[in-house]
C-alpha cells in the first residue's frame, strides 16, 4: 500500500507533487466479502394476468413474484396475486404513513369501463400488458425504497396471501 507523502517532505517542492499519488491506506477486503453474493438482491416481477369472474364482477389480477435476500422480508421467495385496486390501496397507505414521495400508478382507465365498446375495454390484451408493465415499474420503485421497506403495508401487499385492509399500520423490523 502506498502511504505517500509521509516521508518525502524535504525532496519534493510542491505539495501537489506528493498528493498526486497519495492515498489513505485502504482496509483489506476479505475474500469472503469479495466473493460473497451481493446483499442487495431484490427482484419483483408482475406477470400472468388472469381475468376472473363474469359480467359486472369481472376483474384482472396479476401474479407478484418476489425474490430477494434482504433480511427485512420475511420469506426470500414469494408469489401472491393482486389486482389493480390492491395497488391503489398500497399507494394510499404509503402516501399516508410514510414520508416518501410515492411514484404514480399507471393511469386508471375510466374511459375503458364505459359500456358499448367495440373492443374488450379494460380486458383488452394490449391494455392489460401495458398496465402490467406499469405496475411492475411501480412496485420495483416502491419496494426498493429504504423507507418504504419499513412499512408494514408493503410486506402485507408483497407476501401475505390475502391483503388484510383492516391491518394495524406500523413499521417492520428486520429479523
Amino acid at each position: 500500500m502506498n502511504s505517500g507523502g509521509n516521508n518525502g517532505s524535504g525532496s519534493s517542492s510542491t505539495s501537489s507533487g506528493i498528493a498526486a499519488t497519495q492515498r489513505i491506506p485502504p482496509k483489506r477486503q476479505t475474500l469472503d466479502e469479495a466473493y460473497a453474493p451481493p446483499a442487495n438482491f431484490l427482484e419483483i416481477e408482475v406477470l400472468n394476468p388472469i381475468t376472473h369472474g363474469v359480467g359486472k364482477t369481472r376483474y384482472t389480477d396479476y401474479e407478484i413474484r418476489l425474490r430477494t435476500n434482504l433480511p427485512i422480508f420475511k420469506s426470500k421467495e414469494s408469489s401472491v396475486r393482486r389486482r389493480y385496486s390492491d395497488f391503489e390501496w398500497l399507494r394510499g397507505e404509503l402516501e399516508r404513513d410514510s414520508k416518501i414521495v410515492v411514484p404514480s400508478l399507471p393511469g386508471k382507465a375510466l374511459k375503458r369501463q364505459l359500456p358499448f365498446r367495440s373492443d374488450d375495454g379494460i380486458f383488452e390484451e394490449s391494455f392489460v400488458e401495458e398496465r402490467r408493465k406499469g405496475l411492475e415499474v411501480f412496485i420495483n420503485k416502491v419496494a426498493g425504497h429504504p423507507l418504504a421497506q419499513n412499512e408494514r403495508c408493503l410486506h402485507i401487499f408483497l407476501q401475505e396471501p390475502v391483503v388484510d385492509k383492516s391491518y394495524v399500520p406500523g413499521k417492520m423490523r428486520a429479523a
Binding site: 498528493a19 498526486a20 492515498r23 489513505i24 485502504p26 482496509k27 469479495a34 442487495n40 433480511p71
Partner: protein, 330 residues
C-alpha cells in the same frame, strides 16, 4: 500588463470633460489577480494585501479650463448587498485632499499616498453580495461632480492552520447502507488536494454511482432575513457501479481547477461564504443518498511574499495526519 481605467462620459454637446486616470506606483511590477465579475466574465485588477500602502498619481488632462470646488481621492472598502443596492456599507474609508477649490488650466498630476491601509477582508463577488476595494477620484463641481473609480483586488492570506484533523465519520441508513468516509483534512488551501476514502460496511441497495460535489453556500444578512444561495462548484465521480461489503474507494480531488474563494465567516456581520463536500450515492432508481460535510478553505501564503513563514508552513504541510488518529462520529 497594462490596464486602463478610463471611463469617459462624453457629455452631450461638450466634448471636453477632463480625462482623469489613476496610476499606481510600481504598477509595472505589481501582480494582478482575476476575479469573477457580476456578469459572469472576468475582471483583472492589481492585487494588494492587508497593510500594504497604496500610492500613486492622479493625472488630469484638461481640454479647456476646469473650475472645481476641490479635488480629493478616496480609498474605499465596501460591501454591497444586491437586494439593497442603494445602501452600501463602507468598512474602510480614507480620504486625501488633492487640491482646494480653484481651477485647472493645464494637464496636472497629483501624487497620493495612503500608508498602511487596513484591508481586513478578501475581495469577493458573489450571487447576492459584493465586497470590493477601489480608489475614487472626485472633482467637486457646482452642478455635477466628476468621479473616476479604479478597482483593486485584495487577497487575505493565512498561515497553515494549527489544527487540521482529518474528517472521519460513519454514516448510513439503518439496515440499508453503512459507510465510513474519511477526508485527510478539515482545512484545505485553494490549490490543495482532497485525499480520502469511502469504506462500505453494508450495502443493501443497488448503487449506480457515487460522486463528490463541492458546494458553496453564500449567506447574506442577519436573521430573520437571511438569504442563502447554494451553488454546486464541482461534481466529481469517484465510483462507477455497485460495491459490496468491505470495498474501499479512494478519493483524490484536486481543488486547483475550480473557482474557489477562501471560507468567509461573518464578514462585517453581513455575509458568509462556506464550502461543503457533499458525498452523493445514486441508486438504480435514481434515489440519492448524501452526506454533507463542511470544509474550511484558506488562501495559502505565496512563498515569494513572506519568506519568514516559509519553513514553518512547509514543514506542517507535508506531514499528513496519521490515519485513524482523529475520529469524529456524527
Amino acid at each position: 500588463m497594462l490596464i486602463f481605467y478610463q471611463y469617459d462620459i462624453a457629455f452631450f454637446g461638450f466634448g471636453q470633460a477632463p480625462e482623469i486616470s489613476i496610476k499606481l506606483d510600481g504598477d509595472d511590477v505589481r501582480k494582478t489577480a482575476k476575479i469573477r465579475s457580476e456578469d459572469g466574465g472576468q475582471e483583472v485588477h492589481y492585487l494588494f494585501y492587508d497593510g500594504e500602502p497604496v500610492s500613486g498619481t492622479v493625472n488630469i488632462a484638461v481640454k479647456k479650463r476646469l473650475d472645481h470646488q476641490g479635488i480629493r481621492i478616496e480609498f474605499i472598502g465596501q460591501i454591497e448587498v444586491y437586494y439593497d443596492r442603494g445602501n452600501q456599507h463602507d468598512f474602510v474609508t480614507k480620504v486625501k485632499e488633492l487640491a482646494h477649490a480653484g481651477e485647472i488650466t493645464q494637464n496636472t498630476s497629483f501624487s497620493f499616498d495612503f500608508q498602511q491601509v487596513e484591508k481586513p477582508y478578501e475581495s469577493y463577488i458573489g450571487t447576492n453580495v459584493k465586497l470590493r476595494y477601489f480608489l475614487r477620484v472626485v472633482v467637486v463641481r457646482r452642478l455635477s461632480d466628476i468621479v473616476r473609480e479604479m478597482d483593486i483586488i485584495v487577497h487575505t492570506l493565512s498561515s497553515y492552520p494549527d489544527v487540521n484533523k482529518s474528517i472521519k465519520m460513519e454514516v448510513g441508513i439503518e439496515d440499508c447502507l453503512h459507510i465510513e468516509f474519511e477526508y485527510n483534512r478539515s482545512k484545505y488551501h485553494l490549490r490543495d488536494v482532497i485525499v480520502g476514502k469511502i469504506y462500505f460496511f453494508l450495502v443493501r441497495i443497488k448503487i449506480k454511482y457515487m460522486e463528490i460535489v463541492i458546494m458553496k453556500k453564500e449567506t447574506v444578512g442577519v436573521s430573520p432575513s437571511v438569504f442563502t444561495e447554494s451553488e454546486n462548484i464541482a461534481k466529481y465521480e469517484i465510483m462507477d457501479g455497485a460495491p459490496v461489503k468491505g470495498e474501499s474507494i479512494p478519493i483524490r480531488l484536486f481543488l486547483a481547477p475550480y473557482e474557489l474563494t477562501p471560507t468567509m465567516h461573518e464578514i462585517a456581520n453581513k455575509f458568509s461564504v462556506r464550502y461543503y463536500l457533499n458525498l452523493v450515492l445514486v441508486d438504480e432508481e435514481d434515489r440519492r443518498y448524501f452526506k454533507q460535510q463542511e470544509i474550511i478553505l484558506w488562501r495559502k501564503q505565496d512563498k515569494a511574499i513572506r519568506h519568514t513563514f516559509l519553513e514553518e508552513s512547509e514543514g506542517n504541510e507535508e506531514s499528513s495526519p496519521s490515519p485513524g488518529s482523529s475520529t469524529s462520529k456524527g
